[in-house]
């Protein structure tokens, strides 16, 4: 089994980078109650990938077949700016996001159905974790490092503008700009991770490890730590199980993440009783 794991070690490194980066951002996604935004951005990002394959398949922009992330990134960041800039209207924000989610999901499926690029269906749905190469790992490190670094550097600003926007505003914080920065970072990470991990796995790493963290930890620092550890455990165990048992890697990681949430919930219940 070890040999098989070592054979795909770049895939493991790539998974770990995606898992930890998403898990750290995911703590704010869950605390801000914007899980649905995460899901919608993942769908928009996947629609961008589908559009790239469709265009490449029809000979319109063939370079997009090898770099679909360019269109995915453009679509995701444009959507973030659009979400942030849309004033409050008669349609509630969550319903607006719901519209985007549904439209992006269906557009992605329709485009990929007509894309002439081989194996696009699997990549679209599940990503291609095992296909991660050394170059991809380097790309993931370059993309993730500034996001994680910024999150560490602006930890207190992100915390304050997430926790109590009104008070932050009275102390001169430009809450809208901090929101935009956060959403741009989120959109960026999602669109980069999407091309390797797929919609479901990215969404999993954004939500489930953070939930595990909130169930087990008693402080913000502890929540980030547990979230990151839960993501690493899910990635490693999921990866290690999927290869010898010939299981799809992404869904196996998700299953392990789910098991960790259940375990955390049971621990929490036992702590409350004692």
């Amino acid at each position: 089994m070890l040999d098989a794991v070592l054979l795909f070690r770049e895939a493991l490194y790539g998974s770990l980078i995606i898992a930890v980066t998403c898990a750290l951002l995911g703590v704010y996604v869950v605390l801000r109650r914007i899980v649905f935004v995460g899901a919608a951005l993942a769908q928009i990002s996947s629609a961008g990938i589908a559009l790239a394959y469709w265009l490449a398949g029809h000979g319109i922009a063939t370079a997009l077949a090898t770099h679909p992330e360019a269109l995915s990134l453009a679509a995701t960041l444009a959507s973030v700016i659009f979400f942030a800039g849309t004033p409050r209207g008669p349609v509630p924000p969550d319903a607006r996001i719901g519209v985007w989610y549904a439209v992006a999901a269906s557009a992605g499926i329709l485009l990929i159905a007509k894309a002439a690029v081989g194996e696009a269906h699997d990549i679209f749905l599940q990503g291609n974790i095992l296909g991660i190469t050394r170059a991809d790992t380097v790309e993931l490190v370059i993309a993730s490092a500034p996001v994680v670094g910024a999150q560490l550097l602006f930890q207190k600003e992100l915390l304050f503008t997430s926790f109590d926007r009104e008070t932050a505003r009275t102390l001169g914080y430009r809450v809208g700009l901090w929101d935009l920065g956060f959403y741009l970072a989120l959109g960026f990470v999602i669109s980069i991770a999407m091309q390797f991990a797929g919609v479901l796995l990215v969404f999993n790493f954004l939500v489930l490890p953070a939930v595990t963290g909130l169930l087990l930890a008693r402080s913000m620092a502890g929540t980030f730590l547990v979230s990151a550890v839960a993501a690493v455990v899910a990635a490693v165990i999921g990866f290690a199980l999927s290869i010898p048992f010939d299981l799809p890697t992404g869904p196996t990681m998700i299953a392990v993440s789910g098991a960790l949430v259940i375990l955390a919930w049971l621990v929490r219940r036992m702590q409350r009783r004692s």
Partner: protein
């Protein structure tokens, strides 16, 4: 006394919808002002305008340069999903002084502990926010407002949803802070009976208009009856003012 905030013939509201027109008010240095009125009358609009999150639709609102607010939001705005400890919440009041990208120092932590001492809950510094009672949570938010060394302490519905004991303690604490240090305090509330016994001046806002004056000027039968449009009685019990709406008789007169 100099005015820290001045509203001059101001029209206040949201978008194109004016909530208050021709509004005039000075918040003075050393003031202890209650902005009181029923829900929807415009007190939150006044609050948001002088805090700077809402621009006046017309007229002039002047804010003294360098003015620093210590804002205490409504307690239920605070999200208990965040696993934060009391000291961490209080430290937020110094974040802008600490600077973007910098960590709180030992001095900041010491100041946060002192702010908790001022509001009487220094012993709760390391407790999770979720483990506190409503009154203790409100004290935490007041400590957070104080730790930033503000010129004006602004409280939004500080006693909302509290029982009698907690209400009395919180209002007593705010009054004590004002009396001991001369701190300017603005308190927004719908509870006229509670606020009137603690503040020195009242801005009473109602659908029909507004009236600003000392508690003695505003808390009269005539002024309140005219404001609310129903017969109102103002009584006094051991120095405490009590406002009572006279019971409606549905037009049936009962002769003794």
């Amino acid at each position: 006394m100099t005015a820290l905030v001045s509203f001059r013939d101001a029209t206040l509201g949201y978008g194109r919808h004016a909530v208050l027109r021709g509004f005039n008010l000075d918040i003075l240095d050393g003031d202890f002002l209650g902005i009181v009125g029923p829900n929807g009358a415009g007190k939150t609009t006044i609050l948001r305008t002088f805090l700077g999150s809402l621009k006046p639709l017309g007229g002039v609102v002047t804010i003294a340069p360098g003015l620093r607010y210590g804002y205490v939001p409504q307690r239920d705005v605070v999200d208990t999903l965040f696993p934060l400890h009391v000291l961490e919440v209080v430290l937020m009041g110094r974040y802008d002084r600490i600077g973007i990208g910098r960590r709180p120092t030992a001095t900041d932590r010491e100041l946060a502990r002192k702010a908790l001492e001022r509001v009487g809950i220094a012993h709760l510094a390391d407790r999770p926010l979720t483990a506190l009672s409503g009154g203790q949570r409100q004290r935490t938010l007041i400590a957070r407002a104080l730790v930033g060394e503000p010129n004006v302490l602004v409280l939004d519905e500080p006693t909302n949803g509290m029982d009698l004991v907690a209400t009395t303690q919180i209002l007593g604490l705010v009054r004590d802070l004002h009396e001991r240090t001369g701190l300017t305090v603005v308190m927004v509330s719908h509870a006229l009976n509670e606020v009137a016994n603690y503040v020195e001046r009242i801005a009473l806002v109602h659908e029909s208009g507004y009236v600003v004056g000392t508690v003695d000027d505003v808390m009269t039968q005539q002024a309140l009856s005219a404001m609310y449009g129903i017969p109102v009685e103002v009584s006094s019990f051991e120095g405490h003012r009590i406002v009572l709406a006279k019971r409606a008789t549905n037009g049936i007169r009962r002769d003794a």
